[in-house]
């Protein structure tokens, strides 16, 4: 017979312990994230929707030209006309803040992992864990640490969305032509000069592809974050499911898709900007 291991109780005890002893830390995180998210939500929702849409169209035109600008116009007008504007802007703010944190943590970790085999060996299984653990499961500790609302949604989202930032940064730095790095060494460059002036710029396209993935994952997570009361499109989706409201489901679902396409194309255009010809 295999002895029973009370793994579940241990984890529950650990969460309780952390909640009791690190309350100040969770408060600080809560305060920071809720402040940033609600500030950005306010910024998106404060102007009349047509003004915000106009700004999006300018951005779209600047990055990709007229066809994408037209898409932006029609897509966001549709969102506005089905009454999903505010929910969409709330979600956009949540995605952007979660992405910001995921990138701010993920890229440096990826750089460390690329330069140090030990860090790489430690980080890899953690990333596997973060990506494959069913997403509902870490909604639970997030709620226990941060309560119900925007913050647990944002935290769960950034944890879920971070791995591509780490992985692709690591990959990008490792893929930089070894001979080019050797050349930098041969000319007497310091490790920092090599990292910031050679490896990082050359890895940038790959890193940007990682950031694009972070954004997409974050957007797919916000629906689930809606279950934690994070608001936005997620809440609309959860509500439509719990009330079997097909109409609301279609409106909120399509809004997610529209936002996803917009963010994907914008981040892709940003990542290919300023690349030298091959």
């Amino acid at each position: 017979m295999v002895p029973e291991i009370p793994l579940g109780r241990w984890v529950a005890d650990l969460v309780d312990f952390l909640r009791d002893n690190l309350a100040f830390l969770f408060d600080a995180i809560t305060w920071t994230i809720s402040g940033l998210v609600s500030g950005l939500q306010w910024a998106f929702n404060f102007p009349p929707s047509l003004v915000t849409i106009a700004l999006f169209i300018l951005l779209a035109f600047w990055l990709r030209g007229a066809p994408f600008a037209l898409y932006t116009l029609l897509a966001f007008l549709l969102i506005d006309s089905v009454g999903m504007w505010q929910a969409t802007m709330d979600t956009l703010a949540l995605v952007l803040i979660a992405t910001l944190f995921a990138v701010a943590i993920g890229v440096p970790v990826g750089i460390l992992a690329a330069r140090n085999a030990l860090v790489h060996a430690i980080v890899r299984p953690i990333l596997d864990f973060m990506q494959t653990l069913p997403v509902f499961i870490y909604l639970l500790p997030a709620i226990m640490f941060f309560g119900i609302g925007t913050v647990p949604g944002a935290v769960a989202t950034l944890v879920f969305a971070m791995p591509p930032a780490v992985r692709l940064t690591n990959l990008g730095i490792r893929q930089v032509d070894a001979e080019v790095v050797e050349a930098a060494h041969a000319f007497g460059a310091t490790p920092n000069q090599i990292l910031f002036r050679v490896q990082f710029p050359l890895a940038l396209p790959t890193i940007m592809a990682g950031i694009n993935q972070v954004i997409m994952l974050a957007l797919s997570m916000v629906v689930i974050a809606g279950m934690a009361g994070a608001g936005g499109l997620g809440s609309q989706v959860v509500r439509s499911v719990s009330t079997v409201n097909i109409g609301l489901g279609a409106e909120s679902g399509i809004s997610v898709v529209i936002l996803a396409i917009f963010l994907d194309r914008v981040s892709e255009a940003l990542s290919t900007r300023g690349q030298p010809p091959a």
Binding site: D177, E179, E182, A186, F187, G188, A189, T190, R197, P276
Partner: protein, 398 residues
Amino acid sequence: MSKIRVDGVYKIFGDDPDTALKMLKEGASKAEIQEKTGQVVGVNNASFNVEEGEIFVIMGLSGSGKSTVVRLLNRLIEPTYGTVEIDGEDITKMNPEQLRALRSRKMSMVFQRFALFPHRTVVENASYGLEVHRVPEAERIERGSESLKRVGLEGWDNNYPGELSGGMQQRVGLARALAVDSDIMLMDEAFSALDPLIRREMQDQLLGLQSELKKTIVFITHDLNEAMKLGDHIAVMRDGAIVQIGTAEDILTNPADDYVASFIEDVDRTRVIIASSVMRNPRETVGAADGPTVALRKMKDAQLSECLVLDRDRKVVGVVRDDDLARLSRERAESIESVINTDVPRSAPDAPIADLYAAAAETTIPIVIENEDGRMLGIVPRVSLLAALSGEDGTNGS
């Protein structure tokens, strides 16, 4: 004092170099050591000196350790044992700070696959070394631009490397190395990735630059013809060891062992052997002041039908034929001047014999080898040129 002095250097890849070293000293081969201990011998007891201002070529097939050796000189690869001195200073004892200073000020490197920075413009690439030691931007762009001009890339400053052909990219690599104005240039198979025609062009350009700049160059190649063309001295490597060091001619005419001999089998000898090594003294010469009868007697004794005429400074005036002299002698003429044919092929002693064939094809008169003042050093008859081609030219060993 030698510019670079490499003394008893080993590079053993693996975690137990001492055992490998012991086995090497007991005469074990590289393959045996690798099989028994898992240690890979990269460089086996290399010692050589590179003098200031020379091109020192290290030649060997792939896997012979030549690219490792060149990286030991700037410690891109750490030597396991032995010393490497640059200007009398042992670089194996330098700390990272000193090492970076050495790399950025004293040495520069050109790479086989160019290793340019694709995200920087051509001029930013060329000035990279200056950026590393923090030369102000305006100055380094100017110096980078100058360096590009020197390698014939004027006007490409603001292009990206990806827009350039292979030959042009390597010129950028060369410009990058020249811009820092270091004494020593390390060139790791710098031209090996280029098309043959471009390669030859680059070799000529390097020689042209070298005659002006007089850098100390360590040049790695697997191409014997390239080694012979560029190298003041050549080291031949095999299995991590240096098997012979010498000038191109030393190696060609006195290969140290069968390995070197097989290596040089298909070299174009005519481009390596120089005129002075196949020339000989004429059997007889005639003085410009000699009368026809004296001249004729000398030629008869030496059994010559044609003979060079020298003035008092041993400068070649021309050539005379025995039948002309006989006629003058019958006519009791005083001087041979009227029958001297001044149309004599001439060459410098350091000309490769390839340059002599055209002249030799046109006339039966031997080619006169003379120094810069025009004094005759010797002659190269046609038959010597043919013999040199087959390797039976008397330069082997004698």
